[in-house]
Amino acid sequence: MITTIASVVPLQLADRVLISLTSISGLVLVASGLTIIFGLMGVLNLAHGALMMVGAYTAYAVQSAGFSPWLGIVIAPLVVGLIGVAMEVTLIRRLYDRPLDTLLATWGIAIVLQEAVTIAFGTSQKSVAPPIEGSVSLLGVTYPAHWAFIIVVTIVVMAITIGLFAYTDIGIMALAVIQDREMASAVGINTRVSDRTTFGFGSALAGLSGAIMAPLLSVNSTMGIAWLADSFLVVIVGGVGTFTGTIAGGILLGGLDNLFRTVISGYTSIAQAAVLVVALIIIRYRPQGLIPAGERGE
């Protein structure tokens, strides 16, 4: 999780709240792509963390080529979205009815991406500059402007995504395809294109989240692994298949993470493990998640 955030600042209540808000936003942002790919499409994409990592590296590459950090934030989702489309076309498409094999194949992809990044960028940690420097004053504490930016981006991304699937033709069509492939193609929707676009969009969000979060994280080729587990937990605990579920999952797990860190201070890993244990218990006793997606095909 967001280890670096927690260790930067002295801890007062207002700080705590802002830190929590930021880390919850980060979690939700990173999980948003998975909400689409796993939550809606049902694809067990273990490459999600790696896609996010590629987004972070894209931001790094753009910056180190001398361009503005803003450009990195624009290009990362494009690059990663294209990788997602390529994945869908070559692999995922063959595996829609084989969930466990999807899980394995995407894990293979995660390794390929990880090794490719290591080959291209080496093993050293990279640091990425935020697009907005400086700080803002909130609730009486000075607060890095980039953190506020993360919160804003998360809110905007979630709003746009929810709106996209609720109100636009493309989004509604995409949902129709996911819910009933045969019916959708019977009424003339090109399900192939729709699947591809949806998967690409989810991947693009992963890439975007990587680029946005990168300044807060130590960027290396294995950074995606922890985020992968967290994203899955946020989506599952929140309730698979709903955006509000993802938000709820992010609030619960991100909030607990911050709480446990405060309570068991000094033992970061134990605090993290405690969050995972809570997540396991929720999955066991409430597999439909906090906010279940109504009646969907069984």
């Binding site: 692999l91 969930p99 466990l100 293979g108 390794i111 997540a279 066991r284």
Partner: protein
């Protein structure tokens, strides 16, 4: 298919190949240095871990992505006891305490998950999380478990005051591996093994024929935990060093890749894949660096999509193709057990 027949039929190509492989492993210490013997011993312990996962995943259809947790648990308990509690005989640690400890963990986790019928991808993800939890907790207990640095200097096994040499440990590991393989082969070739395949193929149907599938899953998961525990225990005595990654999900998923490439649900594929890939790993990763890992991942993806029964499956299909064209008359009798599994 011959691979899982309870009765060993030495005439089939598959059996001949297995025997040849076994002979090569028996002869190996004659040809390599003592240091390399130890390395090969660790391959064998990981092969045992692979075998235990294949029982759960390959046969019962429960993809566990966290089995290293139980391997590592066996390794840690062994390290602590061998180093700090000399009163307990080493053999008892390896063959009783470590498997019992790991089995207890799998029994508890298995009960927790199966009683809510957690299966499929949720089972995979929850076991993966367990592995992550174990790894981070072990990393935090600096005083008791050595933290991130782990525990150094775990002694080799002593039997009545006599310390096993590297070569002896190698043969012990080989003996355990072969014994476990033969035992599992009997198990999967029995009517019990058929129920496992039934659970894999169609759990609800199996339940509604009257099988208590939860109980079967629990038995298998616990047994496999015990095997992983022995494997980890042997690893600790051979390598002398245990650390959090032994519990972690990277190892867990790596072994799954070895099994997939070797051939899931064949037992021998797990052993073969584990040994082959570890060997290639050590020889090729120096030369090819990251390209080796990448190539392996690509191979893994290809196997998952195109050849779910892995290398062993491909080989046995080829051999079978040749054989059936030679004599198609042999099939059609009813008696032989388990012609399905492979």
């Amino acid at each position: 298919m011959a691979t899982a027949d309870a009765a060993v039929d030495l005439k089939t190509p598959g059996e001949i190949a297995k025997l040849a492989g076994l002979l090569a492993l028996v002869a190996l210490p004659l040809f390599v240095s003592e240091y390399q013997v130890s390395t090969w011993s660790t391959y064998l312990t990981f092969a045992l871990l692979a075998l235990s996962i294949d029982l759960v995943w390959g046969y019962t259809g429960l993809l566990t992505l966290g089995h290293a947790a139980f391997f590592g648990a066996g390794a840690y308990v062994t390290a602590k006891l061998l180093k700090e509690v000399p009163a307990v005989p080493d053999a008892a640690v390896v063959f009783v305490v470590a498997p019992a400890f790991a089995a207890l963990l799998t029994l508890g986790l298995g009960w927790f998950l199966f009683s809510a019928d957690v299966k499929g991808s949720y089972f995979a993800i929850t076991t993966l999380i367990v592995s992550i939890i174990f790894e981070s907790v072990a990393g935090e207990f600096v005083g008791f478990l050595g933290g991130f640095n782990g525990i150094y200097g775990v002694p080799s096994i002593q039997v009545v005051g006599f310390e096993l040499t590297a070569t002896m440990s190698y043969y012990l590991a080989l003996g355990i591996l072969v014994g476990s393989y033969l035992f599992l082969r009997l198990l999967v070739g029995s009517a019990f093994g058929r129920v496992l395949r039934g659970i894999r193929g169609n759990q609800e149907r199996t339940e509604f024929f009257g099988y208590d599938t939860q109980r079967y899953r629990l038995i298998v998961f616990t047994l496999s935990g015990a095997m992983a525990g022995v494997a980890g225990s042997m690893y600790a005595t051979i390598d002398g060093f245990v650390s959090p990654p032994l519990l972690g999900f990277v190892l867990s998923t790596q072994v799954v890749i070895w099994i997939a490439v070797g051939g899931r649900g064949t037992l021998i594929g797990a052993v073969f894949g584990a040994i082959l890939i570890q060997y290639l790993n050590s020889t090729l990763s120096d030369v090819l660096i990251n390209y080796w890992e990448m190539g392996l991942a690509v191979l893994f993806i290809a196997v998952v999509i195109g050849a779910p029964r892995g290398i062993v499956g491909l080989l046995s299909d080829t051999v079978e193709g040749v054989q059936t064209s030679l004599d198609s008359a042999n099939r059609g009798d009813l008696g032989a057990g388990g012609e399905l599994d492979d």
